[in-house]
Symmetry: C2
Subunit: 164 residues, 2 copies
């Protein structure tokens, strides 16, 4: 339940076992508090997402669920993802049509992502779009922003070193 909240964790050296365990504990705690049901399928999908900082497609997850004896048809994966995304435990990366576990503790945050095109890791940062250039443009013309997709693609520090 008590998690640190660094920017771009995925590209920093860190104890990922603890990183994943903390995130899972945090999700369990939030669900308990809010009366949400972190069912076996949902929890397993979150665990799978937490295994790395890479984005996983619904069908990648589905294969692993199947291996666990937990449903093998697309809706099983999509429904679990829908729950996780709706409650902020995971995010969809639109650029990749794939999903990552959330690495933050705030609920109701608007995340931004850095996607490494080489190692495919995805780091999450917090974006305050409303304050940026687009936010200003939106305000000035009267567009009411409800949700944002902010994804940067490029090379992570490690991959820049290794002859990219």
């Amino acid at each position: 339940m008590t998690r640190t909240d660094p920017e771009a964790l995925a590209f920093a050296q860190h104890d990922h076992g603890a990183c994943a365990a903390d995130a899972l504990d945090y999700a369990r705690g939030v669900c308990e508090q809010q009366g949400l049901r972190l069912t076996p399928v949902r929890e397993r999908v979150l665990q799978l997402l937490l295994e790395s900082h890479n984005a996983l497609g619904a069908y990648d997850l589905l294969e692993k669920l199947k291996a666990d004896g937990l449903g093998s048809q697309p809706p099983v994966a999509y429904r679990a993802l829908e729950f996780l995304v709706a409650h902020g435990f995971a995010h969809k990366i639109e650029r990749l049509n794939a999903f990552v576990a959330c690495s933050r503790t705030h609920s109701g945050h608007s995340p931004a992502f850095m996607i490494c095109r080489q190692c495919h890791q995805v780091a999450e940062a917090h974006a305050t779009l409303a304050s940026g250039k687009l936010g200003q443009a939106a305000k000035s013309i009267g567009f009411k922003i409800e949700k944002t997709v902010i994804e940067a693609e490029g090379l992570c520090p490690a991959c820049q070193g290794s002859g990219a």
Copy 2:
């Protein structure tokens, strides 16, 4: 070839006939200058995108191409779109898996979009992500941004009025 460059044109009242005609002329000029081939299929797809400020899916376009006797299989549409996107005459809206014509004159710009969830119009603005919060985070951790996806979803001014 000489186009004005307002922010969020789609949500402002404007002479859309001229808007589309100018964009097409502009694309023709750029192609001539740069030795790019704006072939019939490519030009037709651009025209179709320019007919409105709504995003069109590849299969929407394909139907219209078929009606024109211009190829009816997915690769025809996807290849034309690939050309248009590569040269900055169109953009993909990742959130919608659909495409819009570019409404700007700069080449090499990094666009941002406002998508109205009600009327489905898409307005383009110019985003300088590198200068915003995410840009700072990227710089501080050494992530090298090559491309950005910035899309805001919400309600345009007109749709806020009409009981949304």
